[in-house]
């Protein structure tokens, strides 16, 4: 791909479109990621809630076991029996006392599942245990409690201790309290099954839960929810030793969360996209206003200047860099104009007549020597054409020359040409014609040798003056003759005697009438074409000249004008020998451009053009 073919507008628009597409993908990705992150955070949050709830439940259990332990620990019968624990009867008494809460109940009986009561000596040897409750558990103090209490000082040992520990059956919760209070004589262990209380976790977290043991054995607590709307969140409750005791699964209802998430996702994504596209459109608008339009105008101006309209001023209203470029370009143009003027001045100093003609034979450049030679001092020469300066033979020679494309390669042509002075006198001049390819077409550069002011020239001028004077006389005679014929027209008696003169006059009048009619038709065709152009296409006369390329656009004091075209719009200013082909081309151009329209003005233009062609062929 060639970078020079890519416009700033296309590149900027492509970049903005790419940014828009990336924004769409990013917003969709971010929405999905956001939802997953929210779910993960929800899981993490619920796991922490379950953790706090499970510890709260165990703390609640501990309060009940502590109270039971304190009541039994200050039981005087139990203390007395423990003092006399050596005898079998005393041990039986102890067992009976330990069985009593199972049988007769205790404060908080309904709140915990008491499974065992055990009494130990101060040396932590098991002395007795309740006969009621679960059986088959290890007959010694749980390892964690034993380790912790042996590490404690004497006073510290008076504090109650809790532990969640693993038995062969299942995890149990024990509270160890000193038996005998501050004056302890042993220890009492209150063993409960925590599963009885773990269902309260669900009440605290307000979610359905299932509880499994460390071996994935399902406990009595099972509120398992399998629907998609429930997200399982697992928390592992550890024993005091740090081993897994229970796996608590809470089922979070994420249905509402999902709905809220989708709504949030929709709102945030839509908002983000709207904001992004709004910003991009605003950026595009800014680009268009401050970059594309000024740059386009600048480029268009530069193109026109490059095509020769050096008087055109480049639009500098743009961003700073473009303004600098326009300034530089204008400086360059000024330099070019300066050099051109200098060159023109040099050419004017030359005695030769130098002319340049365009493809259609219009004068593009004429130096002072040529102006003097043809007698156009002080007049505008922009409307001059080949036929105004040379004889028909000379024009034919040049037409043949230009038709032969080899001529371009052959080089300059040296020839004698018949020239026509402004006053109408004809003279011959040596000419060097150089073909020139410029402005997209062929043209000529013509150098006419300066005619020496010798006797022959003086004679020629004398003859020319005589001819001119004679022409004036003939014109005066003709005008008098016209008056006489008019008089004769009013007097039929005289007309017959002037029959011969009348025949001459009729031919002359007919030719003049045909030319006048043709000129009138030229004006009508041009007027119709302009009306059709303006009404059907809504464009201006200037645009007609520019777009068709048929009529030259001039710059007068920085204002573009269509002087030549304007002349063809009024009978008074229309040239005596109008450029008929240009008129036809203009009408055809307008008809082509308004092909899709079926307006009355277009129909009229077609009729005018047809009439014009008929008249032209007759003339």
């Amino acid at each position: 791909m060639h970078i020079e073919k890519l416009s700033i507008k296309a590149a900027t628009t492509s970049i903005i479109v790419m940014v828009g597409v990336v924004a769409i993908f990013l917003s969709l990705f971010a929405g999905s990621y956001f939802r997953q992150a929210a779910l993960n955070e929800q899981v993490s949050s619920l796991a922490r809630v379950i953790e706090v709830a499970s510890h709260e439940v165990l703390r609640s259990v501990s309060e009940y076991t502590f109270d039971l332990g304190m009541i039994l620990g200050h039981n005087k019968q139990l203390i007395t029996a423990l003092d006399e624990a050596d005898s079998n009867s005393s041990k039986q008494d102890i067992v009976a006392l330990l069985d009593d809460p199972f049988i007769n109940g205790f404060v908080g009986f309904a709140n915990i599942n008491l499974v065992k009561l055990r009494v130990y000596s101060l040396d932590l040897e098991l002395i007795a245990e309740s006969s009621v409750g679960i059986s088959g558990i290890e007959n010694h103090l749980p390892k964690y409690l034993a380790t912790q209490i042996t590490r404690r000082s004497k006073i510290e040992r008076l504090k109650a201790m809790d532990a969640l520990w693993l038995s062969d059956h299942s995890p149990f919760f024990s509270t160890l309290v000193p038996l005998g209070g501050l004056h302890s004589v042993g220890y009492l262990e209150v063993v409960v099954d925590p599963v009885f209380n773990l269902h309260q976790i669900g009440k605290i977290t307000k979610t359905p839960i299932s509880v499994f043991t460390s071996t994935d054995k399902q406990t009595a607590i099972n509120d398992k929810r399998l629907q998609d709307d429930y997200l399982p969140v697992t928390f592992t409750l550890l024993t005091s030793d740090g081993e897994p005791a229970f796996k608590i699964v809470g089922y979070e209802d994420v249905g509402k969360l999902s709905v809220a998430m989708k709504r949030t996702q929709l709102v945030t994504t839509s908002g983000f996209l709207l904001l992004t596209f709004g910003t991009l459109l605003f950026a595009l608008w800014l680009f268009n206003k401050f970059l594309f339009i000024p740059l386009g105008q600048m480029v268009e101006g530069m193109k026109q200047i490059a095509h020769g309209k050096l008087d055109l001023i480049v639009n500098k209203k743009g961003l700073r860099e473009f303004s600098i470029v326009a300034d530089s370009f204008e400086s360059m143009i000024n330099q070019v104009k300066l050099r051109t003027n200098e060159l023109e001045r040099l050419l004017n100093l030359d005695g030769s007549a130098i002319l340049r003609f365009g493809q259609d034979g219009e004068v593009i450049y004429i130096n002072k020597g040529a102006i003097d030679l043809f007698g156009f001092q002080g007049e505008k020469i922009s409307d001059l054409e080949l036929c105004d300066l040379f004889s028909d033979e000379a024009i034919e020679v040049m037409a043949n020359y230009s038709a032969n494309s080899v001529a371009v390669q052959d080089g300059p042509l040296q020839i004698q040409l018949g020239c026509v002075h402004k006053k109408g006198t004809k003279f011959t001049s040596d000419a060097i014609i150089t073909p020139l390819v410029a402005d997209g077409g062929f043209g000529y550069t013509m150098v006419l040798s300066a005619v020496a002011d010798n006797e022959d020239t003086k004679l020629a001028r004398y003859v020319a003056n005589k001819v001119e004077n004679n022409e004036h006389r003939i014109w005066a005679v003709e005008r008098s003759l016209n008056s006489i014929l008019e008089m004769a027209g009013n007097n039929h008696g005289v007309i017959s005697s002037l029959g011969a003169i009348d025949g001459f006059h009729a031919r002359s009048v007919k030719l003049q009438d045909d030319k006048r009619v043709l000129r009138e038709q030229v004006v009508r065709v041009m007027q119709s074409a302009l009306v059709c152009w303006e009404s059907d296409l809504g464009k201006t006369k200037l645009e007609l000249a520019e777009e068709s390329g048929i009529w030259q656009v001039y710059i007068d004091k920085s204002t573009p004008t269509t002087r030549t075209l304007d002349k063809y719009l009024h009978i008074d200013s229309c040239p005596k020998n109008p450029r008929n082909q240009r008129v036809s081309d203009t009408a055809e151009f307008v008809l082509k451009k308004t092909k899709s329209k079926l307006s009355s003005c277009r129909k009229k233009l077609e009729e005018e053009l047809e009439a014009f062609r008929t008249t032209k062929s007759g003339v």
Binding site: D67, I155, A160, P178, L182, S184
Partner: protein
Amino acid sequence: MSKFTFILLLSFSVTSVAREKPHAPEELLGANIVSVEEVVEMILSKPGMVLIDSRKRMEYIKGHIEGSVNMLNTEMTLDKLQSVAPDKGIALLFYCNGVRCMRSADSINKAVAWGYTNVYWFRDGWKMWAEKKFPVVID
């Protein structure tokens, strides 16, 4: 002083009082402040020490330190105190609910005023005792 300013000051003082319950004084004249561990040690080492629970009766029933005697500060008279501590040089230990409880401080002030010289104050009180999970007596 305008009525408005008076109402403003009054409402400010009322809200200030309601906002925060006052702490017991950091120290009391004539009383030694002891920690929970020192209390246990004193109970074990000084069998003759008298423990006065200055809380309400219901609070006492729900749980109290072993060997303590319930005597609400407002109901404590010299006669009642002398009935449990006839000797004014005997070790006397007062406690109530904790650092925000003023009852034991009030009782100590009375006891000191009545001439008791060996007074101890368990300023952290029942709250600290229960937190540490030391043995309690539940009636």
